[in-house]
Protein backbone atom coordinates (compact mmCIF):
# COMPACT_ATOMS: atom_id res chain seq x y z
CA UNK A 1 0.00 0.00 0.00
CA UNK A 2 1.17 3.50 -0.80
CA UNK A 3 2.36 5.56 2.15
CA UNK A 4 0.20 8.48 3.24
CA UNK A 5 1.93 11.83 2.93
CA UNK A 6 3.09 13.44 6.17
CA UNK A 7 2.20 17.02 7.18
CA UNK A 8 5.28 18.60 5.56
CA UNK A 9 4.00 17.65 2.08
CA UNK A 10 0.80 19.62 2.60
CA UNK A 11 2.77 22.57 3.96
CA UNK A 12 4.94 22.35 0.82
CA UNK A 13 1.81 22.54 -1.39
CA UNK A 14 0.62 25.60 0.54
CA UNK A 15 4.08 27.19 0.14
CA UNK A 16 3.99 26.62 -3.61
CA UNK A 17 0.47 28.04 -3.87
CA UNK A 18 1.70 31.28 -2.31
CA UNK A 19 4.89 31.38 -4.38
CA UNK A 20 3.26 30.63 -7.73
CA UNK A 21 0.57 33.25 -7.30
CA UNK A 22 3.41 35.82 -7.20
CA UNK A 23 5.17 34.32 -10.24
CA UNK A 24 2.40 33.12 -12.59
CA UNK A 25 1.85 35.50 -15.47
CA UNK A 26 5.22 37.30 -15.23
CA UNK A 27 7.02 37.88 -18.54
CA UNK A 28 10.53 36.57 -19.24
CA UNK A 29 11.75 40.14 -18.95
CA UNK A 30 10.17 40.54 -15.50
CA UNK A 31 11.62 37.21 -14.34
CA UNK A 32 15.09 38.29 -15.50
CA UNK A 33 15.16 41.95 -14.36
CA UNK A 34 17.78 42.73 -11.71
CA UNK A 35 16.65 45.96 -9.98
CA UNK A 36 19.28 48.51 -9.00
CA UNK A 37 21.08 47.61 -5.79
CA UNK A 38 20.21 43.90 -6.10
CA UNK A 39 22.21 40.97 -7.38
CA UNK A 40 19.26 38.61 -7.87
CA UNK A 41 16.21 38.42 -10.08
CA UNK A 42 13.01 36.39 -9.65
CA UNK A 43 14.34 33.55 -11.83
CA UNK A 44 17.48 33.24 -9.68
CA UNK A 45 15.31 32.77 -6.57
CA UNK A 46 13.25 30.09 -8.35
CA UNK A 47 16.33 28.27 -9.66
CA UNK A 48 17.95 28.50 -6.23
CA UNK A 49 14.94 26.82 -4.58
CA UNK A 50 14.91 24.17 -7.33
CA UNK A 51 18.57 23.31 -6.67
CA UNK A 52 18.00 23.28 -2.93
CA UNK A 53 14.96 20.96 -2.89
CA UNK A 54 16.63 18.61 -5.42
CA UNK A 55 19.63 18.26 -3.16
CA UNK A 56 17.60 17.98 0.06
CA UNK A 57 15.43 15.17 -1.30
CA UNK A 58 17.10 13.12 -4.06
CA UNK A 59 20.81 13.73 -3.47
CA UNK A 60 20.67 13.27 0.31
CA UNK A 61 18.69 10.05 -0.17
CA UNK A 62 21.36 8.68 -2.52
CA UNK A 63 19.59 9.25 -5.87
CA UNK A 64 20.72 11.07 -9.01
CA UNK A 65 19.98 14.75 -9.42
CA UNK A 66 16.54 15.24 -11.04
CA UNK A 67 17.67 18.52 -12.69
CA UNK A 68 20.57 19.58 -14.96
CA UNK A 69 23.89 19.76 -13.06
CA UNK A 70 24.67 23.15 -14.69
CA UNK A 71 21.87 24.74 -12.65
CA UNK A 72 24.15 24.65 -9.59
CA UNK A 73 26.61 26.95 -11.37
CA UNK A 74 23.78 29.41 -12.06
CA UNK A 75 21.58 29.20 -8.95
CA UNK A 76 23.59 27.35 -6.29
CA UNK A 77 24.86 28.78 -3.03
CA UNK A 78 27.05 31.87 -3.47
CA UNK A 79 26.01 32.42 -7.09
CA UNK A 80 24.22 35.53 -8.29
CA UNK A 81 22.37 36.61 -11.40
CA UNK A 82 24.86 39.43 -12.14
CA UNK A 83 27.49 36.78 -12.97
CA UNK A 84 25.42 34.97 -15.63
CA UNK A 85 27.16 34.99 -19.01
CA UNK A 86 23.86 34.27 -20.76
CA UNK A 87 20.37 34.04 -19.35
CA UNK A 88 18.95 30.59 -18.51
CA UNK A 89 15.72 29.62 -20.29
CA UNK A 90 12.94 30.68 -17.84
CA UNK A 91 10.45 28.18 -19.30
CA UNK A 92 12.81 25.26 -18.77
CA UNK A 93 13.57 26.29 -15.16
CA UNK A 94 9.89 26.85 -14.37
CA UNK A 95 8.91 23.48 -15.87
CA UNK A 96 11.37 21.64 -13.61
CA UNK A 97 10.28 23.80 -10.68
CA UNK A 98 6.55 23.16 -11.02
CA UNK A 99 6.86 19.45 -11.88
CA UNK A 100 9.28 18.43 -9.13
CA UNK A 101 6.84 18.51 -6.15
CA UNK A 102 4.55 15.98 -7.88
CA UNK A 103 7.53 13.73 -8.62
CA UNK A 104 8.71 13.94 -4.99
CA UNK A 105 5.24 13.03 -3.71
CA UNK A 106 4.96 10.13 -6.15
CA UNK A 107 8.41 8.79 -5.29
CA UNK A 108 7.79 9.18 -1.55
CA UNK A 109 4.48 7.33 -1.79
CA UNK A 110 6.26 4.56 -3.71
CA UNK A 111 8.66 4.12 -0.79
CA UNK A 112 11.72 6.02 -1.99
CA UNK A 113 13.73 8.33 0.30
CA UNK A 114 13.99 5.80 3.13
CA UNK A 115 17.77 6.12 3.42
CA UNK A 116 18.67 9.66 4.42
CA UNK A 117 22.11 11.08 4.99
CA UNK A 118 21.86 13.49 7.94
CA UNK A 119 22.51 17.08 6.95
CA UNK A 120 23.74 19.84 9.26
CA UNK A 121 21.80 23.05 8.55
CA UNK A 122 22.68 25.45 11.34
CA UNK A 123 25.23 24.82 14.10
CA UNK A 124 22.59 23.66 16.56
CA UNK A 125 20.34 21.65 14.24
CA UNK A 126 20.30 18.95 11.61
CA UNK A 127 17.90 17.29 9.18
CA UNK A 128 17.43 13.57 9.76
CA UNK A 129 14.90 12.44 7.16
CA UNK A 130 13.10 13.61 4.05
CA UNK A 131 10.02 14.87 5.91
CA UNK A 132 12.22 17.17 8.01
CA UNK A 133 14.01 18.19 4.80
CA UNK A 134 10.75 19.23 3.14
CA UNK A 135 9.55 21.07 6.27
CA UNK A 136 12.84 22.98 6.41
CA UNK A 137 12.57 23.70 2.70
CA UNK A 138 9.13 25.31 3.27
CA UNK A 139 10.80 27.81 5.60
CA UNK A 140 13.58 28.37 3.04
CA UNK A 141 11.01 28.80 0.28
CA UNK A 142 9.14 31.34 2.45
CA UNK A 143 12.36 33.32 2.79
CA UNK A 144 12.72 33.49 -0.99
CA UNK A 145 9.02 34.41 -1.40
CA UNK A 146 9.96 37.40 0.80
CA UNK A 147 12.83 38.23 -1.56
CA UNK A 148 10.58 37.83 -4.62
CA UNK A 149 8.04 40.21 -3.02
CA UNK A 150 10.71 42.86 -2.49
CA UNK A 151 11.95 42.36 -6.10
CA UNK A 152 8.41 42.87 -7.38
CA UNK A 153 8.01 45.99 -5.23
CA UNK A 154 11.32 47.36 -6.55
CA UNK A 155 10.02 46.81 -10.11
CA UNK A 156 6.69 48.49 -9.31
CA UNK A 157 4.75 45.24 -9.84
CA UNK A 158 1.64 44.50 -7.75
CA UNK A 159 2.06 41.82 -5.06
CA UNK A 160 -0.49 39.49 -3.47
CA UNK A 161 1.43 39.70 -0.20
CA UNK A 162 2.71 37.39 2.53
Amino acid sequence: MAKTLPLAFKTFRITRFHLMREVDGLSHEQLLTIPEGREDNILWNIGHLLCSISRLTYVFSGYDLPIPERYFGLFGKNTNALDWESNPDPDEVLTYFTELPDKIEKDFAAGDFTEYKTLQIVPEDDIQNVEEAIAFHCFHEGLHIGKILTLKEAMGLPVKGG
Binding site: P6, L7, A8, K10, T11, R13, I14, T15, F17, H18, R21, G37, I121, V122, E124, D125, E131, E132, A135, F136, C138, F139, H140, E141, G142, L143, H144, I145, G146, K147, L149, T150, E153, A154, G161, G162
Partner: protein, 158 residues
Protein backbone atom coordinates in the same frame (compact mmCIF):
# COMPACT_ATOMS: atom_id res chain seq x y z
CA UNK B 1 1.75 17.03 21.31
CA UNK B 2 1.97 18.63 17.92
CA UNK B 3 3.94 17.41 14.93
CA UNK B 4 7.53 17.04 16.14
CA UNK B 5 8.84 17.72 12.65
CA UNK B 6 7.04 21.06 12.36
CA UNK B 7 7.96 22.11 15.92
CA UNK B 8 11.62 21.36 15.15
CA UNK B 9 11.39 23.31 11.88
CA UNK B 10 9.68 26.25 13.63
CA UNK B 11 12.45 26.40 16.24
CA UNK B 12 15.23 26.07 13.64
CA UNK B 13 13.68 28.91 11.60
CA UNK B 14 13.32 31.02 14.74
CA UNK B 15 16.97 30.50 15.60
CA UNK B 16 18.02 31.69 12.17
CA UNK B 17 15.54 34.62 12.16
CA UNK B 18 16.79 35.65 15.62
CA UNK B 19 20.36 35.82 14.28
CA UNK B 20 19.20 38.49 11.80
CA UNK B 21 17.56 40.53 14.58
CA UNK B 22 19.81 40.28 17.63
CA UNK B 23 22.53 42.61 16.31
CA UNK B 24 20.18 45.49 15.41
CA UNK B 25 19.87 48.76 17.35
CA UNK B 26 16.45 50.28 18.16
CA UNK B 27 17.15 52.84 15.46
CA UNK B 28 17.84 50.14 12.85
CA UNK B 29 14.69 48.27 13.92
CA UNK B 30 12.50 51.35 13.52
CA UNK B 31 13.93 53.01 10.37
CA UNK B 32 11.86 52.69 7.20
CA UNK B 33 14.50 52.74 4.43
CA UNK B 34 13.83 54.70 1.26
CA UNK B 35 11.89 52.59 -1.21
CA UNK B 36 10.40 50.37 1.53
CA UNK B 37 6.92 50.45 3.04
CA UNK B 38 7.83 49.08 6.47
CA UNK B 39 10.61 48.76 9.01
CA UNK B 40 12.05 45.60 10.57
CA UNK B 41 10.08 46.11 13.79
CA UNK B 42 6.83 46.07 11.79
CA UNK B 43 7.78 42.70 10.28
CA UNK B 44 8.58 41.31 13.75
CA UNK B 45 5.32 42.65 15.23
CA UNK B 46 3.38 41.33 12.24
CA UNK B 47 4.79 37.83 12.75
CA UNK B 48 4.18 38.03 16.52
CA UNK B 49 0.50 38.96 16.17
CA UNK B 50 -0.18 36.81 13.13
CA UNK B 51 1.25 33.68 14.81
CA UNK B 52 -0.95 34.22 17.86
CA UNK B 53 -3.93 34.79 15.58
CA UNK B 54 -3.29 31.62 13.54
CA UNK B 55 -2.81 29.44 16.64
CA UNK B 56 -4.51 30.98 19.70
CA UNK B 57 -7.07 33.14 17.91
CA UNK B 58 -8.15 30.35 15.56
CA UNK B 59 -8.57 28.03 18.57
CA UNK B 60 -10.60 30.56 20.63
CA UNK B 61 -7.80 30.78 23.21
CA UNK B 62 -6.93 34.24 24.62
CA UNK B 63 -4.10 35.84 22.63
CA UNK B 64 -1.18 36.41 25.03
CA UNK B 65 -0.33 39.88 23.66
CA UNK B 66 -2.00 43.32 23.95
CA UNK B 67 -5.08 43.48 21.70
CA UNK B 68 -4.23 47.07 20.67
CA UNK B 69 -1.10 45.79 18.90
CA UNK B 70 -3.26 43.87 16.39
CA UNK B 71 -4.23 46.77 14.08
CA UNK B 72 -0.70 48.26 14.17
CA UNK B 73 0.79 45.18 12.52
CA UNK B 74 -2.00 43.77 10.38
CA UNK B 75 -1.36 43.16 6.67
CA UNK B 76 -1.25 46.43 4.72
CA UNK B 77 -0.54 48.59 7.79
CA UNK B 78 2.61 50.67 8.11
CA UNK B 79 4.55 52.44 10.90
CA UNK B 80 3.80 55.73 9.11
CA UNK B 81 0.19 55.36 10.38
CA UNK B 82 1.21 54.90 14.04
CA UNK B 83 0.47 57.48 16.73
CA UNK B 84 2.49 58.29 19.86
CA UNK B 85 1.11 55.33 21.78
CA UNK B 86 2.79 52.71 19.56
CA UNK B 87 4.86 50.13 21.46
CA UNK B 88 8.64 50.54 21.64
CA UNK B 89 11.00 48.32 19.67
CA UNK B 90 12.15 46.63 22.88
CA UNK B 91 8.56 45.80 23.92
CA UNK B 92 7.97 44.10 20.57
CA UNK B 93 11.34 42.32 20.57
CA UNK B 94 10.80 41.03 24.13
CA UNK B 95 7.36 39.66 23.22
CA UNK B 96 8.77 38.10 20.02
CA UNK B 97 11.71 36.50 21.82
CA UNK B 98 9.36 35.00 24.41
CA UNK B 99 6.88 33.72 21.82
CA UNK B 100 8.41 30.39 20.84
CA UNK B 101 8.42 29.22 24.48
CA UNK B 102 4.78 30.32 24.87
CA UNK B 103 3.74 28.47 21.69
CA UNK B 104 5.59 25.26 22.60
CA UNK B 105 4.18 25.31 26.16
CA UNK B 106 0.63 25.82 24.86
CA UNK B 107 1.04 23.04 22.28
CA UNK B 108 2.29 20.72 25.04
CA UNK B 109 -0.65 21.73 27.25
CA UNK B 110 -3.01 20.83 24.35
CA UNK B 111 -4.65 24.25 24.37
CA UNK B 112 -5.62 24.22 20.70
CA UNK B 113 -8.31 21.54 20.69
CA UNK B 114 -10.94 23.93 19.30
CA UNK B 115 -8.97 24.91 16.21
CA UNK B 116 -11.36 26.32 13.62
CA UNK B 117 -10.40 25.37 10.02
CA UNK B 118 -9.18 28.27 7.90
CA UNK B 119 -9.57 28.72 4.15
CA UNK B 120 -6.43 29.88 2.32
CA UNK B 121 -7.88 30.12 -1.19
CA UNK B 122 -6.81 27.95 -4.13
CA UNK B 123 -8.71 25.00 -2.66
CA UNK B 124 -6.35 24.87 0.33
CA UNK B 125 -7.43 24.77 3.97
CA UNK B 126 -5.72 24.61 7.33
CA UNK B 127 -7.56 21.86 9.19
CA UNK B 128 -5.55 21.46 12.37
CA UNK B 129 -3.19 23.39 14.61
CA UNK B 130 -0.32 21.28 13.19
CA UNK B 131 -1.17 22.50 9.70
CA UNK B 132 -1.41 26.05 11.08
CA UNK B 133 2.09 25.67 12.54
CA UNK B 134 3.26 24.64 9.05
CA UNK B 135 1.77 27.86 7.73
CA UNK B 136 3.48 29.81 10.53
CA UNK B 137 6.82 28.36 9.35
CA UNK B 138 6.24 29.54 5.74
CA UNK B 139 4.94 32.96 6.82
CA UNK B 140 7.90 33.55 9.16
CA UNK B 141 10.18 32.68 6.25
CA UNK B 142 8.48 35.30 4.05
CA UNK B 143 8.96 38.07 6.62
CA UNK B 144 12.46 36.86 7.44
CA UNK B 145 13.18 37.35 3.71
CA UNK B 146 11.73 40.87 3.94
CA UNK B 147 13.93 41.57 6.97
CA UNK B 148 17.04 40.44 5.07
CA UNK B 149 16.12 42.80 2.21
CA UNK B 150 15.53 45.66 4.72
CA UNK B 151 18.92 44.95 6.35
CA UNK B 152 20.55 45.31 2.93
CA UNK B 153 18.71 48.61 2.30
CA UNK B 154 19.90 49.85 5.71
CA UNK B 155 23.45 48.81 4.84
CA UNK B 156 23.63 46.42 7.81
CA UNK B 157 24.73 43.48 5.65
CA UNK B 158 24.40 39.76 6.21
Amino acid sequence: MASDVMVKTFLAGRGYFGSHLADLSDEQLTTVPEGAHNNIMWNVGHILMSNYGMLHGASSVDVPAPAEWGPLFKGGSSPSDWGDDAPSASEIMDAFNAQSDVIIADLKADKFGDFKPMDLGGGLQLNSVDEALGFVVIHEGVHHGNVISLRNLLGVGK
